[in-house]
């Protein structure tokens, strides 16, 4: 099968390419990067918790929680824009400037120019330990250069950093596809309002993959589907069991919230 030419490459109009290019070039701002890094670093921190080592990054130490918000983001967003964007979108904004007002009012700050984005300086405090300096770099703050490399590497389907042979670089046929497919069908059935079919698909998932890697996701869906069917008693039971069996799961909070926002 031949893939169509990408809109960004040639097929799109100037306006379409402007929008898509902005998206392709979007990078997390320094504070968002810090937030994500802090979260991912707290994974490292959980590791460090066991090894009593400190997780340090190239750009500084990392930290979970409050550190992310304490990072001072600098760099004036919007001081430079690509000429084409300035032209076409500038005209668009002048004509339909209300959007600009909204953007400013909403305080959207997701975009920062690559060159002006500060690297996050964050300190990681591994859970339950005092920070002890360690030489090894852990999760590394993305630099613009690295971000570019990443983008290219991902396009090529290879890992970005010049990493040594690792599990990432091995090419083993993934076995996750059928699992995802089945759960995705269940999710779509539920989204389309067919909770009964969603439940049937989840049962079928459990039969086919008794030790599936997405078992927890299946349960999250099942809770939603039961609630959609009005079987709230069963949903509550399932929730309680899930929380008891997986106290550390990242899904716990969502499962507990489930149903309350419908």
């Amino acid at each position: 099968m031949n893939d169509p030419t990408r809109l960004l490459d040639a097929d799109g109009t100037e306006f379409e390419r402007l929008l898509l290019r902005a998206a392709a070039e979007e990078r997390p701002s320094s504070d968002v990067s810090a937030r994500m890094l802090a979260g991912a670093a707290s994974v490292g921190a959980a590791v460090a918790f066991l090894s009593s080592a400190r997780v340090a990054s190239e750009g500084g130490a990392l930290s979970s929680g409050a550190a992310a918000s304490s990072v001072v983001a600098s760099g004036a967003a919007g001081s430079i824009a690509p000429p084409a964007a300035a032209g076409l979108l500038g005209a668009w904004v002048v004509k339909w400037g209300v959007l600009g007002t909204l953007v400013a009012a909403a305080g959207l700050s997701g975009w920062r120019l690559l060159g002006s984005a500060d690297r996050p300086e964050v300190v990681v405090r591994p859970i339950g330990t005092e920070a002890v300096p360690a030489p090894a770099a852990a999760l590394v703050a993305p630099t613009p250069e690295r971000a570019q490399t990443e983008a290219l590497a991902v396009h090529a389907g290879t890992p970005a950093a010049p990493a040594p042979a690792s599990r990432v670089t091995r090419t083993v046929k993934p076995a996750l596809g059928p699992e995802i497919e089945l759960l995705d069908s269940a999710r779509r059935a539920l989204a389309a309002g067919d909770a009964e079919r969603a439940l049937a698909l989840i049962s079928s998932y459990r039969r086919r993959f008794p030790a599936g890697a997405l078992e927890q996701e299946a349960t999250v869906l099942e809770v939603d589907a039961l609630e959609a069917k009005g079987r709230t008693g069963q949903a509550s039971e399932l929730k309680e069991r899930f929380v008891a069996e997986h106290p550390g799961s990242a899904h716990v909070e969502r499962v507990q919230r489930s149903g309350s926002t419908r």
């Binding site: 893939d3 169509p4 809109l7 968002v32 990067s33 997701g110 890992p159 046929k173 996750l176």
Partner: protein, 205 residues
């Protein structure tokens, strides 16, 4: 941004810390796990973050869901086959994104646009690229999320159809048909958006 968008990412650090402690307690994380996770983070976090952004999440919410996908991956590293990590991360992040979006609907396009303001003043103080991103969000937010995911991975992230089929666990033919529909929807909405903001309407419930 609506309040629900702002609220979506707010996952308390206390909850997260407790989850981590519990996780550390139940499963020993090996140095190999840690290395694998670091490599996965370096290689994929930005693409995952951008994919979530295109689904309509704020930068912060996208960051939270990205890190959550990594947390879950850490938990399951021993069960994920080597070579499937990227698919696992994407499917988890997208799964999360969709389940949250289903409950906390995204911003309503037409409600946000008031055609009476002073355009010139706005243009002077606005980041042009932010305008482009915001416009794109308005276009994508009204499309079927299944289409948006395929569209984003293909048109913005430059993945091939077979790669997308593998990442999302869907047949190649489904990728092709979603991509075709996504392009049609995007192009028609972009054409309307170019003519004016009020024309971008939500078409997906």
């Amino acid at each position: 941004m609506t309040e629900s968008m702002a609220a979506a990412p707010a996952q308390s650090s206390t909850v997260r810390s407790e989850a981590l402690e519990a996780r550390a307690a139940v499963r020993a994380v090996t140095p190999a796990d840690r290395q694998a996770l670091e490599e996965l983070y370096r290689a994929h976090h930005q693409v995952i973050w951008r994919t979530l952004r295109r689904m309509g999440f704020s930068p912060e919410a996208a960051a939270d869901h990205t890190q959550q996908a990594y947390l879950i991956a850490l938990e399951r590293l021993d069960r994920i086959l080597p070579g499937s990590e990227r698919a696992f991360l994407f499917s988890t992040a997208i799964f999360f994104g969709r389940t949250v979006l289903r409950k906390e609907r995204r911003l309503e396009l037409s409600d946000e646009v008031d055609a009476g303001s002073d355009g010139g003043a706005a243009a002077r103080g606005v980041d042009q690229r932010q305008v482009a991103l915001d416009l794109l969000e308005r276009i994508l937010v009204g499309m079927d999320p299944d289409l948006v995911t395929v569209f984003t991975l293909y048109e913005i992230e430059g993945l091939s159809s077979p790669e997308i089929a593998e990442l999302l666990g869907i047949p190649l033919g489904t990728v092709a048909s979603r991509l075709r529909r996504a392009r049609e929807a995007f192009r028609s909405r972009a054409a309307r958006a170019e003519r004016g903001p009020n024309i971008v309407q939500r078409t997906f419930p």
